[in-house]
């Protein structure tokens, strides 16, 4: 049973928010909440989605939603789940929406603890590859070569010198019941992963790639296309981790041109050919690893 756009909940649970035009993160939150329904309690740490969703008195969530501390998304989810369970409520989802910084840097400890306790929560990380709402600072999920305000592109150092951390495999290494990567460029895949997560007991983690026109430097209308292109050129991949097994959902046979993807974004505009060569090499190395370690369908 897969869900598609026709049987998606018609209610809007994230509406009238103040995100930039063409925001990928708000699209991920909107669709995830439509899949999960109104009986979901959303937790939002400091980050874009809490900054744009709660501008008092403008409150843009139609379901229960609360802002947590930056580091405490997962621990607040734990508390909400335990509290509602203690009150005898059972038909709800405790869902968190944290950015890449709130997940891979600041919220990692709380998330790791929640997975260790196997609390019955859904944790969704919308990855826009930097701290966007504070003015585009590097996070540990910023890819190699990207220009941010803390990794500027100059004569000697051209943007971020570190590679993107593999948050999906870090989470999977906990032995979590369900983890997945997704992209807003492949919406059906994302919707079905959220739906699948809502039916599994225990901690669920979904890492969704969500381009940011402001931080990435592309046109607002290109958000969905760029997200799709990231998957097609092999710099992002769609996979799942379930029953101690990695599954690759989309085995890309012929990658599209990496430089075409990079050149569309002003954060990569300074890159030289040797940098693109390095990015291509790391992609190929990663895919060799994926093809041996992951089960392909």
């Amino acid at each position: 049973m897969s869900i598609n756009v026709r049987d998606l909940n018609e209610s809007e649970f994230f509406y009238g928010h103040k995100a930039c035009a063409g925001c990928g993160g708000s699209l991920a939150v909107r669709i995830a909440l439509k899949v999960l329904g109104e009986r979901s309690v959303a937790v939002l740490p400091a980050g874009c989605m809490s900054a744009v969703g709660f501008n008092f008195p403008q409150l843009c969530f139609a379901n229960n939603a609360i802002i947590s501390t930056f580091a405490g998304t997962a621990s607040m989810l734990t508390g909400i789940e335990a509290g509602l369970r203690a009150k005898g409520v059972s038909d709800f989802h405790a869902v968190g929406f944290a950015g890449d910084g709130g997940t891979a840097d600041i919220g990692l400890q709380a998330l790791s603890g929640a997975i260790d306790r196997n609390d019955n929560i859904i944790y969704i990380c919308y990855d826009n590859e930097a701290y966007m709402n504070t003015g585009i600072q590097k996070s540990s999920l910023t890819p190699f070569g990207a220009r941010t305000t803390t990794t500027p592109a100059g004569k000697n150092i051209r943007g971020n010198v570190k590679d993107k951390k593999n948050m999906f495999e870090i989470v999977a290494a906990h032995g979590i019941p369900y983890a997945a990567t997704a992209s807003i460029g492949y919406m059906n895949d994302f919707m079905n992963k959220v739906d699948k997560a809502s039916r599994i007991h225990g901690t669920k983690y979904i890492h969704v790639m969500a381009p940011c026109p402001t931080g990435w430097g592309h046109e607002p209308c290109e958000t969905v296309e760029i997200a799709k292109e990231a998957v097609d050129c092999g710099l992002w991949y769609l996979a799942e981790y379930e029953d101690s097994e990695y599954i690759l959902n989309r085995n890309v046979k012929d990658f599209t041109d990496i430089s075409q993807y990079l050149r569309k974004q002003s954060r990569f505009r300074h890159l030289r050919d040797e940098d693109i060569e390095y990015i291509t090499k790391s992609r190929d190395a990663k895919w060799n690893e994926i093809r041996t370690k992951y089960k392909t369908v």
């Binding site: 756009v5 026709r6 998606l8 018609e10 209610s11 809007e12 649970f13 994230f14 509406y15 009238g16 928010h17 103040k18 995100a19 035009a21 063409g22 925001c23 990928g24 708000s26 699209l27 909107r30 669709i31 109104e38 008092f56 008195p57 403008q58 409150l59 843009c60 969530f61 139609a62 379901n63 229960n64 939603a65 807003i184 919406m187 026109p213 046109e219 607002p220 209308c221 290109e222 958000t223 969905v224 296309e225």
Partner: protein
């Protein structure tokens, strides 16, 4: 059901609850002023595939009689719907 625009914005302290919580889906301001161009749907060409509805970050595109319509109060004019439409049924029009 979706959050809707209220006709009154709370201004007095007495209108704001004491508890650190507030009514969900409480909208007091539009986003229409953010827009320099607006998407216009050609209902003749629209096939009702709902791809624009699915990919709108604002959720302002809604189903209407087998086709779609736009809530211009909250559309920011990003143009994702124009790009995603395979039938070419959405045109961009400049705001005056």
């Amino acid at each position: 059901m979706k959050p809707y625009l209220r006709d009154h914005t709370p201004v007095l302290l007495s209108e704001i609850p004491d508890a650190p919580s507030y009514e969900a889906g409480f909208l007091v301001s539009k986003n229409a002023g953010w827009r320099s161009t607006r998407p216009v749907i050609d209902t003749e060409k629209c096939t009702g595939c709902l791809m624009c509805y699915l990919h709108c970050p604002e959720g302002v595109i809604y189903k209407a009689g087998g086709k779609v319509a736009v809530d211009y109060d909250f559309c920011k004019g990003c143009g994702i719907c124009v790009r995603i439409c395979r039938a070419g049924a959405i045109e961009t029009e400049a705001e005056r």
